[in-house]
């Protein structure tokens, strides 16, 4: 069964090729069958492969399938090879299943668009293929191919409605900002190949363990550069600014790429190269700090957004911050657990938001929504479940188990401590506040004028409802595969992942403390919901009163703009850069390049003079060349 592994990325690739080749000639249902079907097949194969992997785990906990070697020269031997272990299996499981559900959803969602139906599915299929390549890659070369591939697809899909210039600009912004991280990662690759002489990930990690001293400069440099790549792709501080703007893409894209899968590539990268990070403890701590700061920063920013998708975007940044925090404190499996649960509920939330947006004729402003609970009960319940999971409502949602694990580990780990724990807990409070602010604004309250104008509002069709339902069930039920000590201590998930990632060892573990901390986390979640209830529902207008305060207005503006990072970067990088470019328009370096161009062109014209078109001139050329050649051969 494991030999079927190559089929998993092959199906979406075939879908992409088919759609680009003949997509324009297919009818929409045909496109839908090809587009969603290819990912569905790949999900089925993942299931088969996953079952046989778990039934009979291969020796060493990993299965390598080498398709072919690209070139084989002087030790440089990049292969098209896939590496399946518990880590990549978890990831591809999420990508194919959530990916399939989102494709299914798009079948209906994209039907409204006048054009680009097959283009959309072609890009989406290509994305899934690239993402799977990234996850399954056995060497960094192939991983880079997937990494750049998902970046490209993200760019194409953010700018999908390219006729609006703002969308194109958002796409460019995403591409350029992540490129900063990609450059760092590329440098890491060069450095690793130069130092260790291989790009094969497993061999590389092994050699790194032997050659690098823990805490040495080289290990720190490599880990820092890799972190740079991860931070860019996963929209963490300081490269988080692109993600909110990326919401310009169609909602399924936001769900698939900018919530569930691509943005977690950074998490995957760090987990995949965890040996390098353990060799650089300082960087690992930095990962935790970045995670904590990001989750707080994004949490505050989400509080004041009015666009429903931007709230979700900031919450994504914040939740990935949790994953980074978990990675930073060495709780590898906790990070992956949160990744999986997050993929379920965040996809659910985006799809739910998409359903709302769709029925409100592309209205994304929450202040213009309201009272949708009665109009769209199914969507409401699904959205509510997703929000519960996001806000980590205790016991009943999966989000509680995954997030609580991280919060507890932030305190309990050797690297962690009170500060990280406090940050994570504060983040949890913020999460439930902004989440339920969103729920109350959208679904409760009186229906706004705009909503009344559009009544009666219909529930979406089956292609949208099935993914919502499935994801809602998962958001509730998936938590039970990993239960804390206080609740029965079930470690199915971490036990599985520990075949690929190092086991987590807590330090302070005492039953009482853990219980206390869990209660605190639960209190933060529920307290947040209560707070919003009092502010939004119990006494309408109180929010406006707070917002009217001068200090609050300043804060709101700061948070609304995502802590002003855009303005900061604009002032710090873009403007000085443009200024330098303007000042240096005629500088020496330009002179150099222009001189090169000038000389080359001059040489071209001089050389062209020899092509006179006269036979006798050519014959003379040959004769002179003959004399010189023979002369040189004899003399030299």
């Amino acid at each position: 069964m494991l030999e079927l592994l190559w089929l998993i990325p092959a199906f979406p690739l075939a879908g992409f090729v088919a759609l680009t080749l003949v997509g324009s000639r297919l009818s929409r249902p045909e496109v839908a069958y090809v587009g969603a079907g290819s990912v569905g097949l790949s999900a089925v194969v993942t299931l088969l492969v996953g079952l046989s992997f778990m039934a009979a785990p291969p020796a060493g906990g990993s299965f390598v399938q080498t398709l072919w070697v690209w070139v084989d020269v002087a030790g440089f031997r990049p292969a098209f090879a896939f590496h399946l272990d518990a880590l990549s299996l978890t990831m591809i499981f999420v990508v194919t299943f959530v990916g399939f559900l989102i494709h299914l959803y798009s079948v209906e969602y994209m039907m409204e668009e006048e054009e680009g139906y097959s283009r959309f599915f072609a890009y989406m299929n290509l994305f899934v293929c690239a993402m799977l390549t990234l996850l399954l890659a056995d060497n960094l070369m192939l991983l880079l191919l997937g990494w750049e591939g998902v970046g490209l697809c993200s760019y194409l899909l953010i700018g999908f409605f390219y006729k609006d210039e703002a969308n194109s600009q958002a796409a460019s912004k995403a591409f350029i900002v992540t490129r900063v991280g990609d450059t760092a990662m590329l440098m890491a690759l060069f450095l690793l190949f130069a130092e260790l002489g291989t790009l094969d990930i497993q061999a590389l990690l092994e050699r790194a363990g032997q050659q690098f001293q823990p805490g040495s400069g080289m290990a720190t440099a490599v880990a820092l550069l890799l972190l740079g790549g991860a931070v860019g792709k996963s929209a963490q501080l300081p490269l988080q600014t692109w993600l909110p703007d990326a919401m310009a893409g169609p909602t399924p894209v936001s769900a698939l790429i900018h919530a569930a899968t691509m943005v977690t590539a950074g998490v995957y990268l760090i987990a995949r190269t965890h040996v390098l990070f353990t060799l650089a403890p300082a960087v690992l701590t930095l990962v935790a700090v970045i995670g904590t700061l990001t989750l707080l920063m994004a949490g505050f920013a989400a509080l004041v957004q009015s666009d429903i998708k931007r709230v979700l975007a900031y919450s994504t940044i914040s939740q990935i911050g949790y994953m980074f925090l978990a990675l930073g404190v060495g709780a590898w499996s906790a990070a992956l657990f949160h990744f999986m649960i997050h993929a379920f509920f965040k996809a659910l939330l985006f799809l739910g938001a998409g359903a709302v947006i769709m029925s409100l004729h592309h209205e994304q402003d929450m202040y213009r929504m309201g009272g949708l609970r009665r109009q769209m009960p199914f969507t409401f319940w699904c959205f509510l479940i997703g929000s519960g999971a996001l806000a980590a409502v205790p016991v009943v949602t999966a989000g509680f188990y995954s997030k609580d694990l991280i919060i507890w580990n932030a305190y309990n780990s050797e690297i962690g401590g009170v500060w990280l724990w406090a940050g994570a807990l504060a983040g949890a409070l913020l999460t439930s506040v902004y989440t339920f602010r969103m729920v109350f604004l959208t679904f409760y309250r009186e229906a706004t004028e705009w909503v009344r104008h559009l009544m009666p509002i219909h529930e979406p069709g089956p292609c949208v409802r099935i993914p919502l339902g499935v994801l809602a069930v998962l958001s509730v039920a998936a938590g039970v595969i990993e239960l804390p000590h206080t609740m029965g201590s079930l470690t199915l998930f971490s036990g599985f992942l520990n075949t690929a990632l190092p086991e987590y060892h807590g330090v302070h573990a005492s039953y009482g403390t853990e219980l206390l901390f869990e209660l605190l986390a639960a209190a933060a979640s529920l307290g947040g919901i209560w707070l919003v209830w009092t502010l939004v529902m119990a006494s309408p207008g109180s929010m406006e009163r707070i917002a009217a305060q001068p200090w609050a207005r300043g804060l709101e503006r700061l948070w609304f703009s995502g802590w002003g990072f855009d303005a900061l970067y604009d002032a710090l990088f873009v403007k000085p850069w443009l200024w330098c470019a303007k000042v240096n328009k005629d500088d020496f370096i330009d002179f150099f390049y222009r001189a090169v161009a000038f000389i080359t062109e001059t040489l071209h014209f001089v050389a062209s003079m020899t092509q006179t078109g006269a036979v006798r001139w050519y014959a003379t050329g040959i004769a002179v060349g003959a004399v010189v050649t023979v002369g040189l051969v004899i003399i030299l």
Partner: protein, 97 residues
């Protein structure tokens, strides 16, 4: 004797080469190329006296090839003359640069 033969044939070859370079008439240029080939023939026949029969056999083939080349060359030159009314190669320079 080998040196003399080589010198003669080299001289003939150089004369032929110069002919190709300085003459303008395509047919004469072609004749000069034939002269080059025949200079080599002379050398080959002379060498084969010392080192074996291969040289002489080669000469047969060279002669044949020269004839074929002359036939095709002449045909092309005729076509050119029909079209341009001249065989002066300096007039053919539509294609350049």
């Amino acid at each position: 004797m080998l040196t003399e033969a080589l010198t003669t044939s080299a001289l003939l070859f150089v004369i032929g080469t110069f002919g190709v370079l300085v003459r303008r008439n395509a047919i004469i240029m072609f004749l000069c190329i034939e002269l080059q080939l025949n200079a080599v023939n002379l050398a080959l026949v002379a060498f084969s006296r010392y080192v074996g029969v291969e040289g002489q056999v080669f000469v047969f083939f060279v002669m044949t090839v020269a004839a074929a080349e002359a036939a095709v060359g002449l045909a092309i030159i005729i076509s050119i003359f029909r079209h341009y009314r001249t065989v002066n190669v300096d007039n053919f320079n539509l294609l350049k640069w």
